[in-house]
Structure formats: C-alpha cells, structure tokens
Assembly symmetry: C2
Homo-oligomer: 383 residues x 2
Amino acid sequence: MSVTAAKGFTASGIAAGIKENGNPDLALVVNTGPRRAAAGVFTANRVKAAPVLWSEQVLKGGQIAAVVLNSGGANACTGPLGFQDTHRTAEKAADVLGEGAAEIAVASTGLIGIRLPMDRLLPGVEKAAAELSAHGGEKAAIAIKTTDSVHKTAVVERDGWTVGGMAKGAGMLAPGLATMLVVLTTDADLGAPELDKALRAATRTTFERVDSDGCMSTNDTVLLLASGAAGTTPAYEEFADAVTEVCAELARQLVGDAEGASKDIRVEVVGAASEDDAVDVGRSIARNNLLKCAIHGEDPNWGRVLSAIGTTSAAFEPDRLNVAINGVWVCRNGSVGEDRELVDMRYREVRITADLAAGEESAVVWTNDLTADYVHENSAYSS
Amino acid sequence: MSVTAAKGFTASGIAAGIKENGNPDLALVVNTGPRRAAAGVFTANRVKAAPVLWSEQVLKGGQIAAVVLNSGGANACTGPLGFQDTHRTAEKAADVLGEGAAEIAVASTGLIGIRLPMDRLLPGVEKAAAELSAHGGEKAAIAIKTTDSVHKTAVVERDGWTVGGMAKGAGMLAPGLATMLVVLTTDADLGAPELDKALRAATRTTFERVDSDGCMSTNDTVLLLASGAAGTTPAYEEFADAVTEVCAELARQLVGDAEGASKDIRVEVVGAASEDDAVDVGRSIARNNLLKCAIHGEDPNWGRVLSAIGTTSAAFEPDRLNVAINGVWVCRNGSVGEDRELVDMRYREVRITADLAAGEESAVVWTNDLTADYVHENSAYSS
C-alpha cells in the first residue's frame, strides 16, 4: 500500500548503512508513468537543508521521475559540500534509473550539521533501485523512520483512482509544516498546477495544523506525484478532498506517535471572527508548555487556556470566553463554569474547545502533552 | 533590606491562612512619605487578573500609599465578584492605614480561576498593618513566594539615596513581563513621570528579556514607589541606571530559581541589523523546547539553534550564521565550526551566542533548560 497503492509507482526501502544500527535508512519511489506531474510543499524555516533547496529547484519543472529519501542524517547546515552531496545523490539515482537528475527529488531526515556518508549512500541508491517493486511501499515507509515508533501510511480509493502516501515524523512537529517527510502518490491523470493547488489546500488544514512541540524543522518536505496510470481525470474538488483525507490521516498518525507523548490534544477554536484568529489562538494554546504539562497530569486547567488565549491579538473579550475540556464547559464568560471534577481525562485523546464568542469561524490544531519522556528523549538523542 | 532598604517605607509579611499549608501569604508595603509618587508596569496578557485591572486604575493618579500583595491565589478569571474582592481588599487596607482606597495597589499570585478566601484575607490585612516595620522587607519578600524556593531581594545604594526591591516568580516566566510580582522602592525624590520612564526603560531590558517557559501570566505587576525621604533628587540617567541594576539583579534571581530548571541559559544575539531583530531571535532560541532539552542533556546542539533562528523574520543569511556555546564557535557560516567536544557544559550557567552577521545591534535574553522536573512540577501543581 502506501506510495505503491496507486498504479504507476514502484518503491523500495533498504539498509544502506547510513544509520549505525543497521536499520533501513534509504527509500526510493519511482513514477513509472505514463505521466510524471508533481507538486511539493516545503518547510517555511529559512534555514533549509540541502535536499530542500535541491527539490525546490526540481519542482520548478513540474515533474518528478523519482524521489530518493534517507533517514540517518538531515544534510542540513552542511554548507556547499552538503549541497554537492545531495546533487551527487540525485545524479546517482538518475544514472541508475536512466533519467535526468533534474527530475530526481531528494529528501533527508536525521541529525542536523553532519555530512552524509556518501560512500554508503551512493551504493545504497543502486541497491534500492535493484529492489524496486510495485509492492515496495511499506518497505519505503519503514526506511524513512527516525524516532518514529511505527511507520505511517494512508490510502484513499475513489472511483477508478487512488491517492496513497507515507510519512515520517515524531519530533520537531510544528507549523510550516510539521517536521516530516511525506510522499503522496496518485494514479489520477492531473497536471502539476492542479496537483500544486490540491496539495497546498490539503497541507494548510492538516500538516500545518499539527504543532506537537512548537519546533519547526529544516527538512520538511511534502511531495505529491501523479502517474496518470489510472487513465482518468477526477473533478478537482473530488481530487482535493481525497488528498486532504490522506494528509489528515497521516497528520493524525504523526500526532499519535509524537516523541514521549501520552496524550493527543485536539484544540478546536470556535466563535472566532476569522479563520486566522482561530488558528492563531489554537496555536497559542497548543504551544503553552504549562497547559501541556497540566494535560499530562490529567488536570483540566482552564486558567492556562485563558492565559494562552490572552497572549494573542485575536478578536475577543476576556469576560466572554468559554472553554470546554472533553465536553465539560469548565469556563464560562471568562470565569468558573461547570465543575472541573466532571472532566474525564483518562483516555489518550483530549479535546479542548475554546469559544471566543466573537464570530462564526473555527479551526482545529492538534498537539501533544509535555512529558518527562519528551525531555528524556530529546536531551539524550542529538537530532 | 528589600523594599525597606530605602528610607520612608515600612513593610510586613504574615500568614493570613490563604495558603492551606499555613505559610506566609500576605505582604504589605507602605510609603510613609513625605512623597508617594509611583509608577507601574503590568502584564501584556489580555486576560488580566482583577488586581491588575485595579492597580492600573490606581496608577492613573500617579500615587501609591500602600501595596497589598497576596500569594495563594491569583484572583484571575474570577469575574465581577473577583474584582469586588480586590476592591474590598484595597478598602480594608485604606481603612486600617487611614488612607483613600484609590491609592492602594493590590497584587495577587497563585491559582487562576479560584476566588480568594476573603474571610481570611481581610483580617490578614489588619494583622499585616499591625506588624509594619522599617525592617519588614524580608518578611514581605517571603510572604509573596509561590513555588519559589527562595525569596528574592536586591538593593542598590547610591550617594545619599537607595533603590531596593523584592520579586516573586518561578514559573510562567515570559515576556510581557515575566510572570511575577515585583515591588521596588526608592527614597529618591522624584515624580511619577520620571519614575514611569525609568521603570519602563529598566523592565524593557530586564524582566521583559526573561523567558523561562514561554508562558505569559495574567498577574505580572512591577511597581516602583518613591518616598522622597532621602531628600535628594538624582539625575535621571543615574536614577534609571540604579533601577535597571536592581531589576537586572531580580531578573537574574528569577531565572536562577525557575521551576525544575537545572541550567540558566544566557542567549546573546549579536550582529543583528536592529535591536528588535536581536530580541526576536533571542526569544525564538529561548523558546525552542528541543534546544532546551538538549541543553539539559549538556548537548551543544547548534543545529537546534539554527532551526530556531530560521523561524524568525530577522535580517540574516543562513550561510553567514555563527553560533558559540560557552565560547566555542561550534557553528561558522551556517555549517560545522569548532569541535563540539571542546564545549564544557557542566556548570549551571550556559552561554549561547548567535551572530547574525547582519549589523551591529545586540540583545540578551535569559531562559532555562527544559527538564523532567519542570514537567513533574507543572503536571502535579495546579497553578
């Protein structure tokens, strides 16, 4: 399934020796056509990894023949030599696949500031090409894991066409996008402009609304490749819906596997004067460390929600704010509401609803609790 | 010392029974004149506690006769009844002291969303007034502690006049101001406008540049009271310097006592095109949870510093950034610099220097590491 659920794609995942522990670390996804239209969305961080700079260039042509992805090293903050490494990776894949390097996208994830071991990576590209298969999607998804505990895939099937994808990401999850690598594939027959429009619409309300730890990565990459192999062109809205559905499913999996987290927190802001206000408030709540600690302690601490709302410039009056936690309106009109003892927080998913009482707009942002395990994982693991 | 180091002030600190554990929880600071000029700076949070709303009104008159401070309850998000509680507190102090309530400032700290026990607080005001003393500064500083492990005071003596102060704050430390209560006193003879100017200048580069956990409080209050008892009027610059020195000392103590922290991190941004850029970048670094975990693990993870810089809109080129940790330039020109093994991170104070190579401006922001103890303290303690 994964990236090979749609017709017209082969993939593989192998251990090239980039990771010292010998786990799979190199994936290859190839579009076998007949079309090779593509779109991409990248990190908004101004410190961009070499593969991001490279793949942004590739996408200017609107076509991707193949994507090489590696875990075990981000190739970020590695200077001109790091960029050469990415270039050599693309050229190697181009040689092996009989393509032009200008249509080979590259994505990397792992430690920042370390050069990749090219003496292992380049032979790995050959090995990955030799193992390409129309059933290789799972192996590819496994090979891009870093601290992920599970690999992440999703598929949506429609009438005669399919959108599938894989994702990796467990830390540095924050807007612009959500610190991850994602490859989506479809056999629908669409051109680059429609793919771009559908992908931007989908990421805006899915990956860009995941904020696990407020930290934005240097390597975020979301690619959408279309092979046209299904021989059908769906209506744009229908296609965009399917892409959004796959992205939402993958985004939910990212939250569910966030480093050290014990709770998945769905922050819904309603009654906002604008969608921008709703997103701003949602992110402010999602990034409040004190609240995230309270949720970890299963404490329905609505005062911390109000503190977070109060730091934004959204339209609201403090004495009209309402907050529900798991459906109990513990804060009404900016003050004490229903009994907080009524809130049941035993389960992994926690729902916070903040009503700004200022309009009709809304937005959902996902985050996680802040735990001692998060601290342990990120003070011991250099990433 | 503390608020009674300057002549013309009395203070006290007592246990009124607001805190269930019987610890001191009510402080009174009285300006015995001959002048009672005052200035104040308050939280930028739009959700403001009742005592903040009250004291902002008091300061419009430019005079404060006395300040009542309580720990054990923030009186935030308590609605109109909570505001009445603050009003009654001021009236009680006014009665006991023979003053007008319009010159009584009130400050509260503790749990959000809980009404104060007025049946204990009001008798406490009487008791505190009975214990007022020219040596009561230490007791007052002790009575405003919440999760603070130590009370915090500072004094600067100049030629014939003095500035002293006390502070409380250990969590919710973030700009606009730093989630704390601070009372500063001076016996210099100055009017409200000069006090206001000096206080705003001082807080801008001290309390507003402490960002322990990115969380902005509903109750931040910094008051400066002048008695004129020294009978001397210093030059403005000299006075402002003294106020800044006291604020810097108290701010440093706040960082040093932040909840669960094991490191105090001094983030200095140099080579910035503007001071605003330097502050923005400093805050972005100071708020990066992944970096704060790495520092906790004594890992000189400069990649996370670059990631944080990259999220800002400050003027810089990624390939010209330099980062030093404890004096070792581990990142040069956006890539690997000196050997990270040279960085000694055993001590509590850690210095991060980020050089944007874009100008001549600079700023310092203080923060703390992110630890499992922070998580424990804030998931168990409802505040």
